[in-house]
């Protein structure tokens, strides 16, 4: 009996939450994994939020939400306090997002980089960062003197492996002697660890540093050591003006504005979005003039071709480390293969941590 009483009470509380929602005070909530001032991943999501705000839609954000037990409460609180659309911007929010979505069918949820859409009000979205990696690989292959590229990797998930492979394939195309050395740091954001990894790679002869982590430590380490580097997630040029050749920029703003307007106008549908250079979700920072005018022109052309679809980052023949064929000559890898990528291509050194 008491159980039922609580059940009703709780449904009443939830209903109260819904009744607050109306079109007039449409609100969008954002959940960030890091501080807005990380100058990387969260910084860019925050820029996207600013764009939504500039489009005349009210927004709220909560920063530095740990990916543990706290995430569910924060997401639920946003849903309860009258937010109509909620962006959860880190992989670790996948299960909490789906759990809360179940209890709030009238609230829309957008989860970044995940793969679970258990309810019709959950969409997922991510960017084809690997297209940016292809451009980085092309530049790296041309700029390296030691033929060694140092790569700081976070976790051996498909997104990160895809980036390593795309970069290596592009670099091999312009420089067959290229070697990719990888240090796994098992963190998305740890300036100390990232700086150590960068230094270790430089000590091993890498004269190009790139990273799939969020802090500015790797580019700053590269600047000090006098080797080339690339910015990640946001334009990091001002942190290493001499060393940075370009940056891969995650531009969430157009997507966030589009989805917020759709949700407000009632045209929001569940979808799985994977946008790249073409749609502008992946953008490139300014190219360093040290690359020389010819290389800049080449890369700009490649950028156009990737955007138009004329060139694909994963065009066959592609072999794995043992020499087995992954993608046949003349074919390109389909999205299913890209989404589950879990082997290195030929030319990458070492094994994927297991």
């Amino acid at each position: 009996m008491y159980k039922n009483f609580f059940k009703y009470l709780i449904s009443a509380i939830f209903l109260l939450g819904f009744s607050v929602n109306s079109n007039a005070d449409f609100k969008v909530g954002f959940v960030y994994v890091g501080p807005t001032g990380d100058h990387g991943w969260t910084f860019q999501h925050h820029e996207g939020r600013n764009a939504v705000e500039a489009a005349g839609i009210k927004t709220t954000f909560v920063e530095s939400v740990p990916e543990g037990a706290d995430a569910e409460r924060v997401i639920r609180q946003l849903a309860q306090s009258g937010h109509d659309l909620i962006f959860t911007t880190s992989f670790g929010y996948m299960d909490p997002t789906n759990k809360v979505a179940k209890d709030f069918p009238n609230v829309k949820f957008e989860h970044a980089t995940g793969y679970k859409r258990e309810h019709s009000n959950v969409s997922t979205y991510s960017a084809r960062f690997y297209e940016g990696r292809t451009l980085l690989g092309h530049i790296a292959g041309k700029m390296t003197k030691t033929n060694t590229i140092g790569y700081i990797a976070s976790f051996p998930i498909p997104e990160v492996i895809r980036g390593i492979n795309a970069m290596t394939l592009a670099a091999q195309k312009v420089n067959p002697n290229i070697k990719t050395k990888i240090v796994w740091v098992f963190t998305w954001y740890d300036p100390g660890k990232e700086a150590e990894a960068a230094q270790a790679l430089i000590d091993q002869g890498a004269d190009i540093i790139m990273q799939h982590t969020d802090s500015t430590a790797p580019v700053q380490t590269a600047e000090k050591a006098g080797v080339w580097s690339f910015g990640q997630a946001s334009d990091m040029q001002r942190f290493a003006p001499k060393s940075i050749l370009t940056s891969i920029i995650d531009d969430w703003a157009p997507y966030y504005v589009e989805r917020a307007i759709a949700a407000r106008d009632g045209t929001w549908n569940q979808q799985d979005t994977w946008h790249g250079l073409k749609e502008g979700m992946v953008a490139m920072g300014p190219y360093n003039s040290a690359m020389g005018a010819d290389l800049v022109k080449e890369v700009e052309q490649l950028q156009k071709d990737l955007a138009s679809g004329k060139v694909h980052s994963f065009t066959g023949p592609i072999y794995d480390q043992k020499g087995n064929i992954l993608v046949a000559e003349g074919k390109v890898a389909d999205d299913g293969m890209l989404a589950g990528m879990s082997v290195y291509v030929k030319g990458v050194e070492g094994d994927i941590p297991k």
């Binding site: 159980k3 609580f6 059940k7 009470l9 709780i10 449904s11 509380i13 939830f14 909530g29 501080p35 709220t60 954000f61 909560v62 920063e63 530095s64 939400v65 740990p66 990916e67 543990g68 037990a69 706290d70 569910e72 409460r73 924060v74 639920r76 609180q77 946003l78 309860q80 306090s81 992989f91 670790g92 299960d95 209890d103 793969y115 976790f155 051996p156 998930i157 498909p158 098992f186 589950g340 879990s342 994927i352 941590p353 297991k354």
Partner: protein, 359 residues
């Protein structure tokens, strides 16, 4: 000239009252900070301390957050009361969660009423064993338990990292650093549908009762308190110091391990890298705010849990940076230590005489 003297007569009533003074000063301090930041302090404080618990869901979240803090702080009170400085509860929590989570994964997709008790027991044993490391090193090799227990935090966190990235990672999880979701038989039963508060709260309450009984009604408790007041007296009385050190560390570790296993079988439901937002360290504040008293610790864990929830609510409604939560926790500790200082010491301002200046 300022002269500081030790007070001979510290009133016990005031001793238990100063935590409240610290909390009031923290709220006042918080109001001033909000005012400086340009917020209406009354409104901000309302969002901070009242809104989070103004409905049933919020209240259950408060209890959910307070449960691990209370459990760990209860354990720590045994160590701290006997002058053993276990700073590594976070590591014992993590190791407990690893062992408990390992058992939960072992019984993946199996059903049985005995599974959850086994998982909980494994968690407690895990924490206990991990706490024994600094205890044994202290008793037999004279190492500093502060350093050892603190360093072991990193060891356990790295071990957890290794396990969830490598051998224990979800085979269907695309290499993401997390294990499978535990099956229902390994999950803490929820107390009410729709709320996250789970049976783990009974573990915390049981720990409170047991610790009160042990500390105030048993010979062991007497030994612990005497050792805390004066190690020399304890030795003179012939207490077995080494055994006691081992025992308090084991109690402390078991409590932290229970907290860890409560989190992973409760709200989280799997092992991943972020199972605790540093509960093991925050619980140190809780233990002292609660005056190392079991019932004081219940109260302190609720207050500190509220600073977490308040920080989230204040950011959602007023966009006040979430880090104010840590500022509040820091302020509580600061004001507590400051008022303790004034409680135990007299500060006298003396006027200088001319002949004193010549020296």
């Amino acid at each position: 000239m300022i002269k500081i003297e030790k007070r001979n007569d510290v009133p016990m009533a005031l001793y238990f009252f100063t935590p409240f003074i610290a909390i009031i000063l923290t709220i006042l301090g918080g109001g001033i900070i909000f005012y400086i930041l340009g917020f209406n302090p009354i409104e901000a404080l309302k969002f901070y301390f009242i809104t989070p618990i103004s409905n049933l869901y919020g209240f259950s979240e408060l209890l959910l957050k307070a449960t691990p803090l209370c459990l760990i702080a209860i354990g720590l009170s045994f160590c701290f009361k006997s002058n053993n400085w276990n700073i590594g509860a976070e590591g014992q929590l993590t190791f407990g969660a690893i062992v408990g989570g390992g058992v939960a994964l072992l019984f993946y997709n199996q059903e049985g009423f005995y599974i959850l008790p086994l998982v909980i027991l494994a968690g407690a044993i895990g924490g206990m064993v991990f706490a024994l490391i600094p205890a044994i090193l202290k008793t037999y090799f004279n190492t500093n338990e502060i350093l050892v227990s603190l360093m072991l935090v990193y060891v356990s966190k790295l071990l957890l990292d290794y396990l969830v990235v490598g051998p224990w990672s979800n085979p269907e999880g695309f290499n993401f650093p997390e294990t499978r979701q535990f099956s229902d038989s390994s999950r803490m039963p929820l107390l009410f549908e729709g709320l996250r508060i789970h049976a783990g709260i009974f573990l915390a309450l049981a720990a409170v009762m047991l610790s009160w009984f042990t500390l105030y009604k048993t010979y062991l408790g007497f030994q612990i308190k005497v050792s805390g007041l004066s190690l020399k007296t304890a030795k003179y009385a012939g207490f077995k110091g080494k055994t006691m050190i081992l025992v308090v560390f084991m109690i402390s570790g078991a409590c932290a391990g229970l907290a860890g296993v409560g989190e992973i079988t409760g709200p989280i439901g799997q092992l991943h890298r972020m199972i605790s937002p540093d509960y093991g360290f925050t619980a140190i504040i809780v233990a002292f705010l609660g005056r190392l008293n079991p019932f004081g610790i219940i109260f302190a864990s609720l207050v500190v849990a509220l600073t977490y929830l308040g920080a989230e609510t204040a950011q959602i409604f007023l966009q006040i940076p979430k880090y104010t939560g840590q500022v509040f926790q820091g302020m509580i500790l600061f004001f507590l230590l400051a008022s303790d200082y004034l409680l135990f010491f007299k500060v006298k301002i003396l006027s200088l005489k001319k002949n004193e200046l010549r020296h």
